[in-house]
């Protein structure tokens, strides 16, 4: 069995599954963000007219993290957050992360850094980028709010069809200023935005084995941009190191791996050593070009952050490029670290100071401008270059603007010049 099949079989209490089988896996972790407000509404709908009270199947397995609109941008959001906060307190949800500078952050960073996700688990989240958590060897996928209300009630995901798996084997060493973001953009460009729809991407090969958990999170995060149900990296020594050293996990881990004779629907091989920095051009994530094809394009706003590239190593790469220089006068640069913990680490290492001195605006941890709700909106006809994961029309709040996606190195080098710039030019 592939890794996804193995995890689903275990969680469903059956010895074997194959693609297309319908199973009802028990859920190990059920994550929501602000949309817990809608989950809560649907949860009460389920229990309406029943003789028993609404009750979470297991509050210790529910995580709620406020990140999409923090601090609240409107009375409506604030009231929704208030309702969810009261529910979290009533149900004693310990994995509730409020708007705080110490324990807050983007859900897809808060979960891994607190050790909530473990290899072999089934993780569901009311967010499409829940695929991120496959980086720790879990099967993690996005669901809607009503489905989450069902999980809250039963502790199982109902009627899950076992997806087929595509094996992605990556070998070769990245060139300088090329990394995981370029790799995943390249893959999405190659297989298209629907190339993995209803399938799992399972990552293998020497390049993956030597990649940090932070880099693996980038790959799994953006797997959904190829339509994938989940992205997954089989757990290994690096997974164990991350969970122990960075997430403070002390219990023994079950580093489950796929069977040697697993059946894959397809195998894709990529040589990472041949990759240039990649750019996803408007308005689809699969419209990917090497940087040489778009270099020189003027940009009005640079965004560094998000659940894709807002981690410490991302900020480090960008700060090294920016330090002692100035952001181009025609360009605004916004930096939003993925979590409070990363914010404090970056502060301590002087990265945030380097950004501010260069003229960037450092924002509080959270989703910030990524989804176009309350910060960093673009003007008509403006162009943004961003380390986030989506460039759909209107994604940053204005349908009459353009979003290009890139790595932190490209974003930082470009901020200095005010045009899309190859980071390899001056370094």
């Amino acid at each position: 069995m592939t890794l996804a099949e193995k995890i689903l079989a275990r969680a469903s209490g059956v010895p074997y599954v194959k693609p297309g089988d319908v199973v009802e896996p028990r859920v190990d972790l059920a994550m929501s963000h602000e949309n817990a407000a809608l989950v809560l509404h649907q949860f009460h709908e389920i229990f309406k007219g029943l003789a028993f009270e609404p009750q979470l199947w297991d509050p210790s397995k529910v995580a709620i993290i406020f990140d999409h609109r923090v601090p609240a941008e409107s009375p409506k959001t604030a009231s929704n957050q208030k309702r969810v906060r009261e529910f979290a307190s009533w149900q004693a949800i310990s994995k509730f992360h409020d708007i705080r500078g110490d324990t807050g952050g983007i859900c897809h960073q808060v979960l891994p850094e607190n050790g909530y996700v473990r290899p072999g688990q089934v993780v569901v989240g009311t967010d499409s980028h829940t695929t991120s958590h496959g980086a720790l060897g879990a099967l993690a996928f996005g669901i809607g709010a009503t489905e989450m209300a069902s999980v809250w009630s039963l502790g199982r995901a109902l009627n899950v069809e076992v997806p087929a798996t595509i094996k992605v084997v990556v070998s070769g060493k990245f060139k300088p200023f090329v990394g995981p973001k370029d790799l995943i953009l390249h893959l999405i460009g190659k297989i298209t935005a629907q190339g993995a729809n209803f399938k799992v991407l399972e990552f293998h090969g020497p390049t993956i084995r030597t990649m940090s958990t932070s880099g693996r999170l980038v790959l799994c995060n953006m797997s959904v941009e190829a339509g994938a149900t989940a992205g997954i990296v089989p757990a290994d020594a690096e997974t164990a190191r991350y969970l122990k050293e960075e997430a403070g996990v002390t219990e023994a881990l079950d580093l489950v791996s796929p069977d040697a004779d697993a059946t894959y629907e397809a195998v894709i091989e990529i040589d990472a050593s041949g990759l240039e920095p990649q750019i996803a051009c408007p308005h689809t994530v699969d419209n990917v070009k090497p940087i040489t094809a778009v270099a020189g394009k003027p940009i009005h706003q640079v965004v560094i952050g998000s659940c894709t590239n807002g981690r410490l190593d991302d900020l480090e790469v960008a700060a090294k490029i920016i330090r002692g220089k100035k952001v181009s006068s025609g360009t605004r640069m916004l930096v939003f670290p993925a979590s409070g913990r990363i914010y404090r680490q970056a502060l301590g290492k002087g990265y945030l100071g380097a950004f501010v001195q260069a003229g960037a605006v450092v924002m509080n941890p959270g989703c910030g401008p990524c989804l176009g709700v309350h910060e960093g909106a673009l003007g008509d006809g403006e162009v943004a270059l961003s380390t986030t994961n989506r460039n759909f029309k209107g994604r940053m709040g204005n349908p009459n603007s353009e979003v290009y996606l890139c790595s932190p190195a490209v974003a930082a080098a470009s901020a200095l010049k005010g045009v899309i710039t190859d980071p390899r030019e001056d370094h």
Binding site: Q42, I46, S150, S153, N159, A193, Q194, G372
Partner: protein, 165 residues
């Protein structure tokens, strides 16, 4: 059933229900923001010029992107039917869960104003006379539809569990 709108491939949930309206969550309130950035279509919806049962015909990967359920409830609120060449996974699942009628029809050809006859196995375009095969939803999803949506389906399960105790 009349085609009220035709769309290209890869229509994202940011187009169906822009992120800036995500603070609005209740299915009773989301329909006003359906296709909010398409001022013409949103205007027709709000002016009640699109009768219940009208059809949106879309290309491949309809509903890609975010898992936001508002993208389904806003269409369901106008009683629209979506015929697409294919759907993104989470959108399709949300549609089944909430009872939005979705039809997977890989070969569909239609223009705005066409009348379609939608059957279990075929969609017929009454203008061109052409017929296009429908891919049935898997039985796992059909059982949720038959129960009246995921809320009803889950409630049945809960009652069975309580009885078993």
């Amino acid at each position: 059933m009349q085609v009220t709108l035709t769309l290209a491939n890869d229509i994202s949930t940011d187009i169906i229900y822009p992120g800036r309206f995500m603070a609005t969550v209740l299915p009773s309130e989301t329909p006003q923001f359906a296709f909010a950035d398409d001022l013409a279509f949103n205007g027709r919806l709000k002016a009640k010029e699109v009768p219940a049962g009208s059809v949106i015909v879309a290309g491949q990967n309809f509903g890609c992107g975010s898992s936001r359920e508002q993208a389904v409830s806003c269409l369901k609120g106008h009683d629209l039917v979506i015929v697409a060449k294919s759907f993104a996974r989470i959108f399709l699942q949300n549609a089944v869960n909430l009872g939005l009628r979705v039809v997977v029809c890989p070969g569909i050809e239609a223009v705005e104003g066409d009348k379609l006859e939608i059957g279990a196995t075929l969609v017929r375009n009454l203008r061109s006379g052409k017929e296009f095969p429908v891919i049935a939803l898997p039985p796992s999803r059909q059982s949720i539809i038959d129960a009246g949506g995921l809320i009803a389906f889950t409630r049945q399960r809960l009652m069975q569990l309580k009885k078993a105790v």
